[in-house]
Symmetry: C2
Subunit: 292 residues, 2 copies
């Protein structure tokens, strides 16, 4: 059931993304191709899926807000393109494909990221069936999550932490920004679009933050014990790169305990919801095994 | 009078920018400094000034929309930081100061630009005295102007035109995107904030497009005949860099004629406005002499 819903919604997202991408013509053909190359490169589409699941949880229909779901995937994709740049993480491959700058050059990759970030905001405004007030609230969620107190801030911390051992508290703040903020925006936006009341929104925000933390800890665990084919990078790369992670800063056992505890807290945050939140429960449970 | 109004509003913008910049704390100290370094590096603040002048023209008070005026300057600044990168124009100096990446490194400069672009959208939402519908309209103006059919698209065309002679029509489209789109967004946003009707908005849009064209042609002329100290770059640099410009693609005389004609068209577009549009008239007249 869980996998079926995921696959079905993933298909909806895959079909809608190219439509939203070309809603405004690009002045430059190569730019349009570079944007599409990374946006359509596959992936689990976890943020759109989370957004729709949050809509379901408060009694809405996730499929009604595909436009905003696509917008958040644009923000995620832009951040991957910029993070992969030589001046940042300098990665040549992502999901088994050459990174954007390896195909289109560094300058065009910067621009493709810029354009996807910008397009995300324009896309939110095209969402049907949402009031002006809700659209503004979603723009606010996206801009706060993507900006200096969120993703860009976390990436800047990461850039400065390179090759340096950082305290666990700093690592937590780094990931809250770099990856946690957009999970939070996805889940809160899905809830806002469905007209969540303040209690529901607070509960889902708590869930989102625990989800983000559990995601990161299990990611760090997988880097040590995972299957290279599943995690998409060589096992043990964090330790070789002297990266601070939940495993290197504590131990594998402690990280596993923290992950389990965090998953339990995420589930507890959903106590006020019924069956409509079952997908959100299952996705965080499966983080431990990281299979969908 | 013209210079006094400009100076007075420039001062308001300079005072407000650091407040808007720090409305949300940055997760990373260096990132915050890098954003501030470029945002507070001076300049004429032409886009905020144009925005406020458009508000005046339709009977509003430009000073009432300082928040949005600051937001558009953030978008302008982000574009300068990214354009200066080694992967793009590779400039070491701007306005007599080291460019962002020369001070903070390429990675941090990419992030400072990303964060300023993102912050611009968040800032629009903080504007007091504007309805939700108008704020959404301004977000739309900004995102369309900044994206693949505007600034980023024009910059991508520029990247691909390097060292290649391009037809005049292509040059026009390139500049409509790279610089024209944000002038248009500034002027239209100022008008929308003041509640312009559709006739006023159409007239100001026409004015904005003529203004953008006149700005670019006179910029190209100044590169040939200007004073290096005034234009902030060596005279004749476009020709040495084999850049296609209105002067290199036609002649100095033809470019001057086209500039004069375009200024006249910009003035004609303002025919339905009275004295309230005098600042807009004066700013386009002065483009020919490029002194404020």
């Amino acid at each position: 059931m869980f996998k079926e819903i995921w696959q079905q919604r993933l298909k909806l997202v895959e079909e809608r993304l190219p439509i939203e991408l070309t809603s405004n013509p690009s002045l430059d053909k190569t730019l349009g191709e570079a944007m599409s190359y990374s946006l359509m490169a596959g992936g689990k589409r976890m943020r759109p899926i989370l957004l729709m699941a949050a809509t379901d949880a408060v009694g809405g229909r996730g499929e009604d807000f595909l436009t905003v779901a696509c917008a958040i995937e644009m923000i995620h994709t832009y951040s991957l393109i910029h993070d992969d740049l030589p001046a940042m993480d300098n990665d040549d491959y992502r999901r088994g494909k050459l990174t954007n700058h390896k195909v289109y050059g560094d300058g065009m990759a910067v621009l493709a990221g810029d354009a996807l970030l910008t397009l995300a905001f324009e896309t939110v405004l095209r969402q049907q069936g949402a009031s002006d007030a809700v659209k503004l609230a979603v723009v606010r969620e996206f801009s706060v999550a993507a900006g200096q107190s969120g993703m860009v801030g976390g990436q800047a911390m990461d850039l400065e932490a390179e090759g340096r051992r950082i305290p666990l508290e700093e690592l937590r703040r780094l990931h809250m920004g770099k990856t946690g903020a957009l999970f939070r925006a996805a889940i809160r936006s899905g809830a806002l679009l469905a007209g969540a009341d303040s209690k529901q929104l607070a509960a889902l925000t708590e869930y989102a933050d625990k989800f983000g933390l559990a995601f990161q800890i299990t990611d760090d665990i997988l880097d040590v014990v995972g299957d290279a084919a599943v995690i998409g990078k060589p096992v043990g790369s964090d330790e070789r790169n002297e990266k601070s992670t939940y495993v290197t800063l504590t131990s594998l056992d402690e990280a596993r305990n923290l992950a389990r505890q965090t998953v339990d807290e995420a589930l507890a945050a959903l106590a006020l919801f019924g069956n409509e939140a079952e997908f959100l429960r299952e996705i965080v449970r499966r983080l431990m095994a990281r299979e969908k």
